[in-house]
């Protein structure tokens, strides 16, 4: 049975987390079923493979163009938002971002925050930060609401409660909300709706994420199905949007291909129920909408990824979650085992920039390199190459220049370096190689039966009596 985590899993304990998750049959069934369904839905949205490939290439270029002008676009976005009456804040770290949000809350003497889904606010651990300062945060996305009730973290960036089945949610609602036990999903959603409704208009502040920030018009675009995003950004007197600095696109029309790629890849929908474009606070003659709109632009390691031409591609991401849906590792261990806000393939390539490689060193290696993530990514991020690159950064000598990633060399070992150096010498000196092969084949009886992790699930390899080179030479000699 999966349990309610007292302390959230940490990325440094990935191996242990993964082993535990693999032993949880219920969890594996829940994920297998959900991922199969999501893969099917995505496939059905792209019946024309040619259109898909052209659109992915287009999406990639739109994102690459935005990143190639990122500082200018951020300034243009800010100027247009400010002209529209939106207040823009910049934060290098999550501490700064939290302090900005808390400062706004204090100015309004806010006690209660209602949140639409926002992964950046998870990155900030905003609920915890504000909670410790007497400001309650309530999640309003159904999935987020469920994981918050369980004191858990989302296990998927699009479907936060995907690790649970209806029975588990039924029990949770019964225990925590004192309602009748029902596994009827319609009824469960109605319970969520009724519980949350009043909170929308009691909240002092609404917090949301941003899917695309449009520089040309100074517009924040949010997609969603439930309507809680619209509620959170319309009903409370103050709206604070938090987002990463990479989310900006140049022109309004740029969102057209990205929107199509996002919703079709994420949940297999041609479009979400709502596409919500916010360009300012309530005007004098308007009767609803927040009086104040704030945008917090967060760096948190993104500028590190940006600094390197290859790693920069990480920032193409439009957070569709398709890479996790198609990942054989994610499907088997689920989202929590990673111990990071962003799980799965995207998490493995983005989290090292946020937390450094010291604690995330095992993430880039938690991949079979099957390539599925790179193949489905709607903006063509070469995830497998980036994983390989991060593996390299993790074993490079800590002091080697240039320094690309915080925590470089977290997996560096002198022994391993020496072994590889010896390996190279062996393989590049024919005489030495032949001698080693001769010794290896003649002494094959000395091969130990237990060679560490390799033999935990397999028998030890046994060298052949004679090497292929020898056999070939002999064969040619006979001709």
């Amino acid at each position: 049975m999966s349990h309610v985590a007292d302390t959230p899993a940490q990325p440094i304990a990935f191996t242990r987390n993964a082993r535990e998750a693999l032993a949880d049959a219920q969890l594996r069934r829940n994920f297998r079923g959900a991922m199969d369904a999501l893969m099917d839905k995505r496939r059905n949205q792209f019946p024309d493979g040619d259109e898909l490939e052209r659109l992915r290439a287009f999406g990639n270029r739109v994102r690459a163009r935005a990143l190639s002008k990122l500082p200018d676009l951020l300034e243009r976005l800010e100027a247009n938002l400010v002209r529209n009456g939106v207040q823009v804040h910049w934060a290098e770290t999550v501490e700064e971002a939290n302090a900005i949000v808390h400062g706004i809350a204090e100015r309004h003497a806010a006690r209660k925050v209602i949140k639409g889904k926002s992964m950046v606010s998870e990155e900030m651990e905003m609920n915890h930060y504000l909670g410790a300062r007497g400001v309650d945060c309530l999640e309003s996305d159904m999935g987020e609401f469920i994981v918050q009730l369980r004191a858990e973290k989302p296990s998927h960036i699009i479907m936060p409660a995907i690790h649970l089945n209806a029975g588990q949610v039924a029990k949770l609602f019964h225990d925590k909300l004192a309602v009748e036990y029902t596994e009827d999903v319609d009824r469960l959603i109605q319970i969520g709706r009724e519980t949350l409704r009043r909170n929308f208009f009691e909240a002092d502040i609404g917090v949301s994420g941003v899917n695309f920030a449009i520089a040309e018009t100074g517009t924040l675009l949010l997609v969603e199905n439930e309507g809680n995003g619209r509620m959170s950004t319309t009903v409370p007197p103050v709206h604070i949007a938090v987002t990463g600095i990479e989310k900006v696109v140049e022109n309004l029309r740029d969102v057209i291909p990205l929107l199509s790629l996002l919703t079709r890849s994420a949940t297999g929908q041609p479009i979400t129920t709502y596409v919500n474009m916010i360009s300012g606070p309530r005007k004098a003659d308007e009767l609803d909408g927040p009086q104040e709109v704030h945008l917090v632009l967060l760096d948190n390691g993104r500028s590190q990824a940006f600094a390197d031409g290859e790693l920069r591609q990480t920032l193409n991401c439009i957070r569709c979650g398709a890479c996790m849906n198609h990942c054989p590792v994610y499907t088997r261990i689920g989202g929590h085992a990673y111990g990071t806000v962003y799980p799965g393939p995207i998490g493995k390539i983005v989290t090292p920039h946020m937390l450094g490689l010291e604690t995330t060193r095992d993430l880039p290696t938690a991949s079979s390199m099957c390539g599925a993530c790179g193949e489905v990514c709607p903006v063509k991020i070469p995830i497998p190459s980036l994983l390989r690159r991060l593996r390299e950064e993790a074993v490079r000598a800590p002091a080697a220049e240039p320094h690309h990633v915080r925590g470089q060399g977290a997996k560096h070992s002198r022994k391993e370096t020496l072994v590889w150096r010896a390996w190279r010498t062996l393989n590049t000196s024919p005489g030495l190689y032949r001698a080693a092969m001769y010794a290896g084949t003649r002494l094959r009886g000395l091969m130990p039966a237990d060679i560490g992790p390799w033999t935990r699930y397999r028998s030890a390899p046994k060298p052949a009596a004679r090497s292929l080179h020898e056999l070939a030479r002999e064969h040619l000699g006979e001709q």
Binding site: P71, M159, Q190, E216, E226, L252, R253, E286, D288, S303
Partner: protein
């Protein structure tokens, strides 16, 4: 240096010596696969909306007010939130009077703060106009206004939307272009494609998550 200067400084240093990627926007790719013959357009829009539980009804300028009364009566609803300041609001009010129908019409006349409780708990249905529709995705375009504020299409459990057939475009690109969105966007612009929904519990689709449980679109054929 403040955070903004430091962030921008780092980004600029990283871009030193590079040239921006050219804008080779491929209009064909976002329009060609999403084109429909004139007689297919409305059918496509309806199909897409109905696939996500939206209800659609094709009607006429003369008939739509009666269709609204019927839809409300069929659901046992006797109160409707509708703006008295719009052409369609006035039209409906006249019709209700002429029919002597037992339907109370109320407007969104005060700032939301003044009547939250009533809006959230005692407003079963609303009617708004739309700016147009998109056939490709089955979407309605709404630009909320002082007459028809943002929450009107979100809070009541039933949302009835009027859509002029002539305002339905093939795809989002065409619509944005035709309506010159880049000239200036309102405080809030919306695409609405069906009633509110969620699949957050075990991938099972449920309607009426936080927004309307029902969306009824009256497509006005001759407008």
């Amino acid at each position: 240096m403040n955070a903004k200067e430091r962030i921008l400084g780092k980004l600029r240093a990283s871009l030193a010596g590079t040239t921006p990627v050219a804008d080779d926007y491929d209009i064909g790719l976002v329009t060609d696969p999403w084109r429909y013959a004139a007689d297919e357009r409305i059918a496509r829009l309806r199909r897409m909306l109905e696939a996500v539980h939206g209800e659609t009804l094709v009607t006429t300028v003369a008939q739509w007010p009666q269709r609204v009364l019927e839809a409300l009566a069929a659901r046992g609803i006797d109160e409707l939130l509708v703006s008295p300041a719009t052409v369609h609001g006035r039209r409906l009010a006249e019709h209700v009077r002429a029919q002597d129908a037992a339907l109370r019409l109320k407007g969104y006349e005060n700032p939301v703060e003044a009547w939250k409780d009533e809006l959230f708990f005692h407003t079963p249905a609303s009617l708004t106009g739309t700016l147009g529709g998109i056939a490709a995705t089955g979407s309605l375009v709404l630009w909320p206004s002082p007459q028809e504020p943002r929450l009107m299409s979100l809070v009541p459990p039933l949302h009835i939307a009027l859509l002029n057939a002539s305002e339905v475009r093939d795809n989002l690109f065409e619509l944005m272009h035709a309506q010159r969105w880049t000239d200036g966007l309102p405080t809030n612009a919306l695409l609405v494609s069906g009633p509110s929904k969620t699949a957050d519990i075990q991938q099972t689709l449920a309607y009426g998550a936080h927004g309307p449980k029902e969306l009824l679109v009256l497509v006005i054929e001759d407008a």
